[in-house]
């Protein structure tokens, strides 16, 4: 019955179905985005991507996403560490809460953040009194992106931390390492690949995020307009090609960034294996 000589039967079926799933669910929709650019004139392309305003939107999206993913990296790793290391009342609830940003509609996120951080909101009112404007500024955009990206880092780092053998820490301690040294020399290197995964996921999410941002950004041309909003703008004009051009540019940016992070990760794990 089994013609395959592989140790694990079913390799052909597994491979075939995997390719089919990836093609249907991921590749075809992405290819359709690129294909929608078909026949685009150089002029439309230049107007979609290279006007001052378009460039400002790309720059804002990229910078805000990088900033948000970096904050998520720090906060998320710390949260994961606390959740794994300590047992306390309400830990489960806290743990579950972290996933909520993934589950609620992004528009709800945007509206509630704008309400909280607006000039008349609980937090916004306090901050405005101290001269800090959050809602309708790039800071607000970063805030929304940080919110939606946080779970990715926590969920990537938490299981790896939980699997770390305590013996490593104990052995290091018996050799005279203090807690800071253990964290820096033992724990961090081991969870770094997972941290990078979380960073990459939250960055990818931030680059494409639309729903939560448009409510808190104020959408001022050249100042608080994000690239995904520019896609919607082009669609409103029935300019499918221009919209597809921006989408493709975002796709390329995400792909390059994710590939770079993947490469970094591979080098890290090679280095680790060599130790």
């Amino acid at each position: 019955m089994f013609r395959s000589r592989d140790a694990i039967p079913g390799r052909g079926i597994a491979l075939g179905s995997t390719i089919a799933i990836v093609t249907l669910v991921v590749f075809i929709p992405l290819a359709a985005v690129v294909l929608a650019m078909q026949g685009i004139s150089a002029e439309t392309l230049a107007r979609a991507l290279f006007t001052q305003r378009a460039l400002a939107a790309f720059r804002l999206t990229l910078l805000a996403s990088l900033a948000a993913a970096t904050i998520d990296l720090a906060l998320g790793s710390y949260l994961a560490w606390v959740l794994v290391r300590y047992r306390f009342a309400g830990r489960r609830v806290l743990d579950a809460l972290i996933d909520v940003p993934l589950a609620i509609p992004t528009a709800v996120t945007g509206i509630s953040l704008a309400t909280l951080y607006g000039a008349n909101g609980w937090i916004g009112g306090f901050l405005e009194a101290h001269g800090v404007h959050v809602a309708y500024t790039p800071l607000g955009i970063g805030l929304a992106l940080t919110f939606v990206g946080l779970p990715f880092v926590v969920r990537s780092v938490e299981p790896v931390l939980a699997e770390l053998p305590r013996e490593l820490d104990e052995a290091a301690a018996t050799l005279g390492a203090d807690r800071a040294t253990i964290l820096r020399r033992i724990t961090l290197p081991l969870i770094l690949p997972a941290m990078l995964t979380g960073f990459a996921l939250s960055l990818g999410r931030a680059l494409g995020e639309y729903g939560s941002v448009v409510f808190i950004s104020g959408n001022m041309p050249g100042r608080t307009e994000i690239a995904p909003l520019a896609i919607v703008t082009h669609l409103e004009e029935y300019d499918y090609q221009g919209a597809a051009a921006i989408a493709t540019a975002l796709l390329v940016i995400s792909f390059v960034l994710l590939a770079a992070i993947n490469g970094l990760q591979r080098r890290l794990s090679v280095a680790k294996a060599a130790v």
């Binding site: 107007r47 979609a48 006007t51 001052q52 305003r53 509206i111 704008a114 309400t115 607006g118 000039a119 008349n120 909101g121 309708y136 448009v214 409510f215 104020g218 959408n219 001022m220 041309p221 050249g222 909003l229 919607v232 703008t233 669609l235 409103e236 004009e237 029935y238 300019d239 221009g242």
Partner: protein
């Protein structure tokens, strides 16, 4: 795996699809694809029409509604959303459906009044007592006045706001385009938030308490005043634009469903006195003068121009809101 399982699944699938297929074949279901603020009006009108249709033909008709941004709804119809009729915010959006050959290019001549059975206009919603004393367009460009209006690049309603302001600029400056442009540039300098849609802008103004004045559809402003008694008041400027939200039968879909007669009757019914009274109740300006008169005092008659003033939607869209158009220019000059 149990070998009977896949068949069970397929059977369940087929069973789930059956009612859909049956509904598509029946000529007594109608899908009306509309834009956001008409939700309340059309749910009331659907009941009214269903009663009429039952009395006239004995047929029970189920009307389904879909709401969203006007442009997004038009794109959905172009991409295959099976609308029998569309009732949208701008003729520009129905033109796009016509370009996709789903309805005739001269759709706007098929019903009276350029195929828009009710109209609206752009008014100011201000906080109770009008603390900043905003009475006309000129007051909005004073320093320190915070104006709320959505982004015309993403919101159909916001385009009407922009054109109403531009029209005032022309009106006040003997049709001098440069001065009209300077006026809208000054106006948008007083705008701190450009929400992506009209409902979002209303939320910013009413729920979040931001801004001194909201540029709003009259029907939305009337609903806001009704919902929050004593909190806001409507200011009708001296001049504004007459927004004519159009309706049309999506001929290709109606032919496919065999619903042409029903769809036409549904849209024609909008011009009947009882439907016009409903439109009035939900804040729209009825076309029937007799109904408009009896409609109460909230319809102050401003000096209104139509989109024809700007050469129709195709021209206006390109000139004002297209890539590099007037709206982009006033922001690049900042």
């Amino acid at each position: 795996m149990n070998p009977t399982r896949p068949w069970l699944l397929i059977g369940a699938f087929a069973a789930a699809l059956l009612p859909v297929a049956a509904a598509a074949d029946s000529s007594t279901t109608l899908l009306n694809v509309s834009y956001d603020p008409t939700r309340e009006f059309y749910s009331a009108y659907n009941d009214l029409f269903a009663k009429h249709w039952k009395a006239k033909t004995g047929q029970t008709v189920t009307i389904q509604q879909s709401h969203g941004g006007s442009g997004a709804q038009a794109r959905a119809v172009i991409e295959g959303l099976d609308a029998d009729v569309v009732t949208l915010a701008l003729a520009y959006d129905i033109d796009a459906i016509a370009k996709a050959k789903l309805l005739p290019a001269d759709w706007q001549t098929q019903l009276p009044d350029a195929s828009s059975p009710y109209t609206s206009t752009i008014v100011f919603l201000v906080r109770a007592g009008n603390p900043k004393k905003l009475h006309d367009w000129n007051d909005l460009i004073a320093p320190g006045v915070n104006v709320i209006t959505p982004n015309p690049k993403t919101s159909g309603g916001a385009r009407w706001n922009f054109l109403a302001a531009y029209n005032f600029g022309l009106h006040a400056n003997h049709n001098d385009d440069a001065k009209a442009r300077a006026y809208v540039a000054a106006l948008y300098k007083n705008v701190s938030v450009l929400d992506s849609g009209a409902r979002g802008a209303t939320t910013t103004f009413t729920e979040r308490g931001i801004g001194d004045v909201l540029l709003a559809w009259e029907n939305e402003a009337i609903l806001s005043v009704r919902e929050h008694p004593g909190a806001y008041q409507i200011v009708v400027p001296r001049t504004s634009i007459l927004a004519e939200p159009p309706v049309a039968v999506v001929a290709a879909n109606a032919a496919k469903h065999g619903t042409q007669a029903l769809a036409e009757a549904y849209l024609k019914g909008l011009y009947e006195p009882d439907a016009q009274k409903l439109a009035c109740f939900y804040g729209y300006r009825p076309r029937l003068v007799s109904v408009l008169r009896g409609c109460g005092t909230h319809f102050a008659i401003a000096d209104l121009v139509t989109i024809a003033r700007f050469g129709g939607w195709q021209t206006a869209q390109k000139r004002f809101f297209g890539e590099g158009g007037v709206f982009d220019q006033i922001y690049e000059a900042h």
